[in-house]
């Protein structure tokens, strides 16, 4: 009897499909978990750099402050006061920072706050800025004007090769740029690190009148700022940088040089916890992409995607309208549909290769040969060809979505328009396409989302890892968010891996958010159009 009841129960459960239902529920939960963990991981790793990384507030000689992302690995005991995080013990923090900076080839290192300001009028000589920098990168080395050897106290250590000498001069110059050029001013501590300080002061051109006028201002600014918790920067620390240079750590030279460019005219700093999302979104990448922001990557992605949309939307809609509204069901249309379905499955790198071969080499070179006498204008990978390649890649998505949307337009609407004396064309333009607009827009958004995340075709058709200007013409190369992530993740310099990785996650978070935003836009547009259309 009992067995029978169990049998019955089991049979009943089988009939109700409990196993199947629980499996489906399980699968759904797994999918949800995956989505949540993906987004959560990106948000966690990405926001670490994007939002809450420790950065330093830099004090400039004129009393203004700016924020710089220095080495975010420094751990300093901090206290929060008046909404600002400052080091508990500035002197100790400075030391700590100095050690860390030394290890990490940073160039700006502070000393104890008992700094005096002195002006060395008598040692000023005329000299050109030996190493001009632009955006942190050395541009050219000018011939340094000869100075008397004996005046260069301590110059022996630094003048072994031209690069090293220039480098030192640059550092010193940069560290006090606002003081320098017109007059020179130097920090000098008690502990005998005078040599280098003196050395750099000799290389400044000065106007004694301005110098004496400004001296008081600078002194006041410094004393005030040191009082308010800033840790003064000491150019003396550049000695250590120099050591690196002389040891031939080329990488370090470059890094340190960039750092100084970033801290032009800095006289002090303090560690603050700060949202640096603004920089992240609005700045150019620096230091092999491991510093700064992703503005050009966002810009390049959006530019490429926009051009692609302008191409793919009309072509896709036109093709779908022809297939759906005009073409009869013949072997030809079936072949076209088969081709479209197949195109959707072709690996994207193949599209990239096609773009390179067809757009760049055949069309681009052809145009160059025809109109520019062989100069490479259009015949190189650039944003236009990348956008066209991407348009080709997303065309199947667009066509299928549009055809689907047209299919859902009831025939009564077409006939209603025809019965009022509309031609077939005007019925399509005025009734059918507007009715299908929600679905067509969904197709556009799908295409855009696909294009925003696709990298492979771009590799061959115009993406670059770093660009210090926003592309303004169709023939320029561009940066791309997805490629930027790849570059950060696997191509950053070995001593910057940690920073690059956190930036990669931030960039990934941005990309995911961009795609999410586009999908939300699609849902919203759909809902809105459906409300007015149905």
């Amino acid at each position: 009897m009992a067995d029978n009841a169990v049998e019955n129960l089991r049979a009943q459960k089988t009939r109700q499909g409990l196993f199947f239902i629980s499996m489906s529920l399980g699968a759904t939960l797994v999918v949800i978990m995956m989505l949540i963990s993906l987004m959560g991981y990106m948000a966690w790793k990405g926001s670490a750099r994007l939002f809450f990384s420790p950065v330093v507030e830099v004090l400039h000689a004129d009393g203004t402050t700016s924020v710089a992302a220095l080495n975010h690995n420094i751990e300093v005991d901090c206290v929060e006061k008046d909404g600002r995080v400052s080091p508990k013990n500035p002197a100790q923090a400075a030391k700590q920072y100095a050690n860390q900076a030394l290890e990490n080839s940073l160039s700006t290192v502070p000393i104890q706050p008992d700094v005096k300001v002195e002006v060395w009028k008598d040692e000023i000589v005329e000299v050109e800025d030996p190493w001009e920098t632009e955006g942190g990168k050395p541009v050219k080395i000018k011939q340094t004007k000869q100075v008397k050897k004996e005046e260069l106290v301590g110059a022996k250590e630094v003048s072994r090769n031209a690069a090293a000498q220039s480098y030192v001069l640059t550092l010193a110059d940069n560290s006090q740029r606002t003081f320098g050029k017109e007059f020179s001013l130097q920090f000098r501590d008690k502990s005998g690190l005078l040599n280098l300080a003196t050395l750099s002061s000799r290389f400044m051109q000065a106007n004694p009148e301005i110098l004496s006028k400004r001296k008081g201002e600078v002194e006041a600014a410094l004393s005030k700022n040191i009082k308010s918790g800033f840790i003064p920067l000491n150019p003396a620390w550049k000695v250590h940088e120099l050591a690196h240079v002389e040891k031939g750590h080329g990488q370090n030279v470059y890094m340190a040089e960039q750092r100084v460019a970033e801290l032009k005219s800095a006289v002090g700093f303090r560690i603050v916890n700060q949202w640096n999302w603004f920089e992240f979104f609005w700045a150019f990448p620096r230091s092999s992409n491991t510093e700064g922001g992703v503005l050009p990557a966002i810009y390049g992605t959006v530019m490429m995607t926009l051009i692609m949309t302008l191409v793919v939307a009309p072509f896709g809609i036109a093709t779908a309208v022809f297939l759906r509204e005009y073409a009869r069901d013949t072997w030809f249309t079936r072949l076209v549909r088969l081709a479209i379905a197949n195109l959707a499955g072709v690996p994207s790198i193949v599209f990239g290769l096609f773009g390179l071969g067809f757009f760049v080499l055949i069309i681009g070179r052809g145009v160059d040969n025809f109109a520019y006498g062989g100069d490479k204008v259009w015949g190189t990978p650039c944003v236009l060809w990348a956008a066209l390649t991407m348009a080709l890649l997303t065309l199947p998505v667009m066509i299928v979505a549009t055809e689907e949307a047209l299919r859902t337009v009831p025939n009564e609407l077409r006939e209603g328009a025809l019965a009022l004396g509309a031609t077939k064309f005007s019925s399509i333009m005025t009734v059918v396409i507007p009715s299908a607009m929600p679905g067509i827009l969904t197709g556009v958004i799908l295409a855009v989302a696909r294009a925003a995340g696709e990298v492979a075709p771009l590799l061959l058709t115009g993406v670059v890892a770093q660009k210090d200007q926003l592309p303004t013409s169709l023939t320029e190369k561009f940066m791309n968010l997805a490629y930027h992530i790849y570059d950060l993740a696997v191509k950053s310099p070995p001593n910057r891996i940690e920073e690059a990785q956190s930036l990669a996650f931030s960039a990934a978070l941005v990309l995911v958010m961009v795609v999410l935003a586009m999908n939300l836009l699609a849902i919203w547009l759909r809902a809105r159009l459906t409300r007015t259309a149905r």
Partner: protein, 285 residues
């Protein structure tokens, strides 16, 4: 009091039929056959591919009267109706022959300009099919296709059409609302307004009330009786009471053939053909 000797209005007949006091009156009414002929079909055949759907149809549609096409499903009445404004062209495999005369020209001619034909012969469909546009744009649609009217003129046409379609009072404050937001009966009247806005000569109606409830149906029927003062109407209906209530002339189709055509009163009271009688008395179909 001799009711039979007095000419009856259509409305009186409707009331009597509705309350069941009296069978449709036949005597004392002038036959609509005397009315001017608007459309005349002579020997019309229609094929869907190899399948013949209409066989040798000859009938006439009198001006400013309502002509009803009745018959069981698949008998070809809708096909015939759609031939009148050449909506049958929409089907790829359609083929037809014969004469369908409108003002001395044959609608079925190959070189007929179907677009301008459809402006002269409007059509209302079985399912209300307002465009996904505002009520105003729905009504103005047909006008805008061919004429560039000033805003004031267009406003006047829209209002006039909506009034004629007896829906103005319900929508006058919401002309910018989507036409699709209206109820089914209102949508159908909107479609009628849309049709009459282009001032057609003939209005074809393909079971215009089959998707509507009885109250909405009654409103549409009232509207048709109002419209017939200005327009010639041909209607396909499955509802024989409806045909009896509103039409002046009835054509009975069966298996693609026109079995009988005549004044509605005559068809419903003394059909000449056996099949007609069987159908209207509900023995088949």
């Amino acid at each position: 009091m001799q009711m039979d000797t007095l000419p009856q209005t259509r409305d009186e007949r409707r009331v009597e039929q509705a309350v069941g006091t009296k069978p449709p009156a036949t005597a004392g009414r002038k036959s609509v056959i005397d009315a001017k002929e608007r459309i005349a079909a002579q020997g019309v055949n229609f094929f869907y591919g190899p399948k013949q759907a209409l066989y040798d149809i000859s009938l006439s549609i009198p001006e400013k009267h309502i002509t009803a096409f009745i018959g069981p499903s698949g008998c070809g009445k809708t096909t015939f109706l759609r031939m009148i404004n050449r909506m049958c062209d929409v089907v790829d495999s359609a083929r037809f022959e014969g004469k369908l005369m409108l003002d001395g020209t044959n609608i079925l001619d190959k070189d007929t300009d179907v677009v301008s034909l459809r402006r002269r012969i409007g059509m209302v469909f079985q399912k209300p099919n307002p465009f996904p546009k505002s009520i105003y744009d729905n009504v103005a649609y047909g006008v805008r296709l061919y004429e560039k009217k000033s805003k004031a003129d267009l406003d006047a046409i829209v209002e006039d059409s909506l009034r004629k379609a007896a829906i103005w009072d319900e929508v006058k404050d919401n002309l910018n609302k989507p036409g699709t937001a209206l109820s089914g009966g209102q949508q159908q009247r909107l479609c009628i307004a849309r049709t009459i806005a282009v001032k057609p000569e003939v209005i074809l109606m393909d079971e215009p009330t089959s998707a509507l409830d009885p109250i909405a149906t009654a409103k549409i029927e009232d509207l048709m009786l109002e419209l017939v003062k200005d327009f010639t109407i041909a209607i396909v209906t499955h509802n024989m009471q409806q045909a009896a209530r509103i039409s002046d002339r009835t054509a009975f189709f069966f298996m693609g053939k026109l079995i009988e055509v005549g004044d509605t009163d005559q068809i419903f009271t003394s059909p000449r053909e056996r099949q007609t009688e069987d159908y209207i008395t509900g023995r088949f179909g």
